[in-house]
Point group: C2
Chain length 718, copies 2
């Protein structure tokens, strides 16, 4: 194919320090007039004739290359924004120069990459007397350049079905803006030779250059903006709440921030037998919020806004957990006047219905469903149903053995207490227990081989389940770790009670009549079976996301030693102490039937992952005081830390409720990655270490600490 001849100019390359302005015409104009040979595919990952940047000659040459500090022109296009329509246009492009390939005696192809895409540059030795090509050959991979050139359509055979794969840019001039050192710690464009994550985190500024991470960040920004726009359209007001807040006894541990500006009066401590006077300053601290829960409730209580939102940074000083970050982002919202919706004209109200929302906070539900539908439509191209399934905690635990059931597959638990004789039922009733089963029939095409894989061992391992398998010859295999299934009688009794046939497998487990906690033994077994069934290729999960609301959680749970700071009695709050009880259970709460009280809490679950949760809050100060004092039995000091909230409720706070969605987790799901680190620009490791900024770190000197009234702690081993 013959390309048109064209007058081209070369620019003086690599401005030296303090040089005068580079002139566009400091080199004589030359005519470029040649026939381009057949070019091979560009954008191919490792072409055989690639110029390796590790080449010693290239390294030596590149060390003499300088950064360009003089003026340069504006870019005209992104690398990813050009198309065949631009053929014939002169363009100015900027980007990272990737390894080139020789494709003819005097013709080279170089991919030029920016965050928007990659374009093929064609550079001939005829340009600028060969200086341009010589320069480009000397430029180390991943250096930044500014290119002037002309867009042309590739010959049909050379077109590739990639963005920009049908065009190339014939280079007329190249200016090196900033050379990349050689060798780089790793080459981000060489996706087949990436080092381990920990190494890449140290050089995050190279890792971020990878298209996949760069794409995740852009998607995150797009989703955040879509969420904001949708919420603004629904009358939400974005309000920034303090990051420097006060320590509260609310949940996981907080980060403290010592202050210089406000050290209180020293508390004098007499030093025995010493003439010098010693005193301890009392250091004062802010704390970083685990969520904006208190500020947002105070804001709504104030009446300044009736719909609040914030994409809020939150902080949790937890011992490193895999895939947790000490700082994370929440889509946080709160609404005044949240109601029961169209009640009492809604005839379904109060009906036992598996898809009914029987609590307050209807406006929160509607807002979130609308928001999620918008996001899935824009990002995934999936139109979600106009409302999501609602399931009570009790139903979720009974059918799926989980408070965040994965409803993409149907395998369900069954309550089988009544299939056993009266003595068994009496024994269970005495323990206030029920008996549940999970059965895989020999005719099951999805879980049969998974059930065989789980086998005796897994059944015994699955904390307290009892397995009965009917072999093909009718004989029975059983397994359990626990002798307590003796009450069920012989394996044959169980087989008969559950009507098991040859090839069937059943697991049985007891659990308290009133469900507790996040999952049961059979619930965990159900997930294990699904994992194995997927691995075996027998279970294929639907592509469509399964969103689910779980509601009506128990408001209080038996006190957990981990939460002792928030519960000195028998009970602690299942979620947080501001959640309102269901109005039907208020009397029970005041009567002390605490286990029976359900909260107006709602969790949003996606494919078995909890992506958010919230509640209608207590707006009645007397009720809130009862919960703090009588149920949670908080100390006076602890109650004092909530005194401003209680007072705000007393000043005419509207009924209100809200929710928070985990934005990092949501983005990880939308970016189809397992790790939230892939959707955070500068993440920390599971241990809370920032390998790039090398933090946390010691402070320079003890004097710095003393400004805050603190010092290194002395550890004494007796």
């Amino acid at each position: 194919m013959c390309r048109p001849s064209r007058a081209l100019t070369t620019r003086v390359i690599g401005a030296t320090i303090g040089s005068s302005l580079p002139s566009r015409s400091s080199k004589p104009r030359r005519q470029l007039s040649r026939t381009f040979g057949t070019s091979a595919a560009c954008l191919q990952s490792t072409p055989p004739d690639i110029e390796r940047s590790g080449d010693k000659r290239v390294i030596e040459k590149s060390q003499s290359l300088k950064s360009h500090n003089a003026p340069f022109p504006r870019r005209s296009h992104h690398c990813g924004s050009l198309s065949v329509k631009d053929a014939g246009s002169s363009v100015t492009l900027t980007g990272w120069l990737l390894p080139g390939r020789k494709v003819g005696k005097a013709l080279y192809f170089y991919p030029l990459k920016d965050p928007h895409g990659t374009i093929q540059l064609a550079v001939s030795s005829a340009v600028g007397g060969g200086e341009t090509l010589e320069l480009m050959r000397s430029i180390p991979v991943e250096s930044t350049v500014i290119i002037e050139g002309v867009v042309s359509e590739r010959p049909p055979k050379q077109k590739r079905a990639l963005p920009g794969g049908d065009i190339e840019v014939t280079v007329t001039s190249c200016t090196l803006l900033n050379p990349a050192e050689q060798p780089l710690p790793f080459v981000p464009s060489d996706e087949y030779n990436l080092p381990a994550e920990e190494f890449r985190l140290r050089y995050r500024y190279l890792d971020l250059r990878r298209s996949v991470i760069s794409g995740n960040l852009r998607k995150r920004s797009q989703v955040a903006h879509l969420i904001r726009t949708t919420l603004h359209d629904h009358g939400f007001v974005e309000v920034e709440t303090p990051v420097l807040l006060k320590s509260t006894p609310e949940g996981a541990r907080e980060f403290l921030v010592p202050t210089r500006t406000a050290t209180s009066t020293p508390s004098v401590k007499s030093s025995i037998g010493a003439t010098r006077r010693e005193s301890f300053t009392q250091p004062l601290f802010y704390a970083l919020p685990q969520s904006p829960q208190q500020p947002k409730q105070l804001l709504i209580a104030s009446g300044a806004v009736d719909r609040y939102y914030q994409i809020a940074r939150c902080f949790r000083d937890e011992d490193g957990r895999k895939d947790r970050q000490p700082e994370f982002t929440q889509i946080d919202l709160e609404m005044a006047w949240v109601s029961w919706g169209d009640y009492p004209s809604n005839n379904n109200y109060g009906q036992k219905d598996s898809d009914s929302w029987r609590i307050g906070g209807k406006e929160v539900r509607e807002t979130i469903e609308h928001l999620i539908r918008k996001v899935w439509s824009a990002v995934e191209g999936i139109e979600l149903p106009s409302s999501f399934t609602v399931m009570t905690y009790e139903e979720a635990m009974g059918r799926f053995g989980s408070d965040k059931p994965d409803t993409r597959f149907s395998l369900e638990l069954q309550l089988v207490t009544d299939r056993f004789p009266q003595p068994v039922r009496d024994a269970l009733a005495n323990e206030d227990q029920i008996l549940e089963t999970l059965v895989i029939r020999s005719t099951d095409t999805q879980f049969k081989s998974a059930a065989e894989k789980v086998g005796l061992y897994e059944a015994a391992m699955s904390d307290g389940a009892y397995m009965v398998r009917v072999l093909s010859d009718g004989t029975l295999n059983t397994a359990s770790r626990d002798g307590s299934f003796g009450i069920l009688g012989t394996p044959s009794t169980v087989r008969d009670a559950l009507e098991l046939n040859p090839g069937d497998t059943a697991w049985l487990a007891k659990r308290p009549r009133t469900a507790e906690g996040g999952s049961t033994a059979l619930g965990r077994l159900r997930l294990l079976l699904a994992t194995l069934a997927q691995a075996a290729g027998e279970l294929v999960l639907p592509a469509a996301p399964h969103f689910l609301w779980v509601t009506e959680f128990p408001l209080f749970t038996r006190a957990d030693p981990d939460k002792e700071f928030l519960a000195h009695g028998r009970w602690s709050s299942s979620h947080h102490p501001f959640t309102a009880p269901m109005w039907e259970d208020i009397e029970k709460m005041y009567d002390g039937r605490i286990a029976e009280v359900r909260g107006q809490h709602y969790d949003l679950v996606l494919n078995g992952v909890e992506i958010g949760g919230g509640s209608v809050r207590v707006h009645d100060a007397k009720m809130q005081e009862h919960i703090f004092g009588k149920i949670l039995q908080l100390s006076e000091d602890e109650k004092a830390s909530f005194s401003h909230l209680l007072h705000a409720l007393r000043c005419g706070a509207p009924p209100h409720g809200g929710i928070a969605l985990g934005f990092d987790r949501l983005m990880a799901i939308l970016c189809k990655t397992e790790s939230i680190r892939d959707v955070i620009a500068f993440p920390k490791t599971g241990a809370g270490t920032d390998l790039l900024f090398k933090s946390p770190a010691p402070v320079e000197s003890e004097d710095v600490l003393r400004q805050y009234g603190i010092t290194q702690a002395l550890v004494v081993d007796a």
Copy 2:
């Protein structure tokens, strides 16, 4: 005026705890059929017959009122969204009940307020057998209620020119949702009886209910969203950068965050004459960022995005300054490939022109001008010019004696060295000084009386200026604190040199030939004159905002003892050490002519207030190292804290630049308030104290601190 009769129902009021669902029809239906009397104006601030909520009877009655915890219906409208078009509609409203007035034998008016507006409720004793009126009369002011009623147009005489002033809502039922305690600390709707700010900050949840603060928060949210939308439209990507960052020696003092999770190996310290072993743990800290400067530069260096923005929370641990907050918000952006614009085709380039942008970063300028135009158009209805005036630092200092000149008034300084005889000129030259003057002529209508007010005293006070006033009889008054003006000769010499006539006043001051710092004595005097001239009513500033770019600041300033941690030699960075020199001055920089080096820094000034600043950054690692090592003479440890940035520059960083605007200050200007606390939901005092959350505060116990490897510091007085 006769209103139509209508069947109305009354709802049982104030659900008791654990009560069954309130029934809509638990009271017999009644016919309301009466002629409404002439109603007085509602929404009037203190009508004579107002029902005072401090009334003892009301307080007693209200104490028996309970919060409503049972279901209630969805609201149908905002109080501010109703208009005459809704006349005849049944509505469900929620809001705060304000003090009512009796307007007829059996008719009361109550304003109902929500964040969107206020509407007049009309309630008759005929509704629900009088129970509704009785309830409403017992409801304390600022309580929250849910109202059902019917919208009607007011009789023409009763219409008021206020939003909603032409309609009212005839109440059919009222439910008290939450009673407000009596007395409240203050009544937010009673704007004429507000307590001092400090008191209101303690009860911020009441203060926020005031319409002015609530309006500010809504405007802030509107502007933030407009900014985000505009930046998204311009290809900017919002990226969240870490709040838990590493301490850097960059500027003002940082907040430290001690960590529990990562305490390094103890550094053993032997204890003399003791058998026990003592050791100090080495506590490790994050630091909160003063700005996202380093993360944003690393992000752009990475190439992940080429246009970054964030509305970012920043932290500064400064000793309390008036109108500063320890946490504040910046509109932060950074762009790769910022250029000289259409250079070199732009013929103005390099011309000495008072309105030319001769540095890089053209794309930053354009983005910000576009953004500001959008905001002023949407919020203020003002169409700003398509580009803002540009002035070099040198020109700003010469003409206005300020690096952030208020150009809304024209009073300018003049350079007058040359009007004096050679010996004077020589003396000034020896000191490398110049002589400037500010003259108010007797014919000046704007500043004449201000000049007289400033008088002898102020002239002497204005740090080093020399004043000469020609009285009407031709005699001369002079004032100065400083004998150094003797070189100018007698007052008559000065009068003649400046051609002063009777009634004229002139101030003279010397300053270094190369301008330094933020303002000169005459610059400060100029602002004082303007303040006095405004107070005298002679100077009226134009309503249109005056935006101005100030560019070409000196890159380095003589080291300031406050900044010693960033400069061990003679020089410190005027802004920050990442600012690039103007390319024309690079050679001077390497040659050690440091005072002459101008930076590619730009400040955005509005009406004499700096609202933002930024720069083109150094992208050349060798240049950055020269600045760190040779000019600022940083220690190895200090340089090490920038090592990741230097390495990122070496890995092919693109040329880049950015800016940050102070969002709190910008909003204070748009909300026409002097205090940024009025545009922050939960502000701290100037001393950094949060009076609502009562932070900072001591931690509960020493044990908590020990988890972080720290303890209270012991202070020893010998």
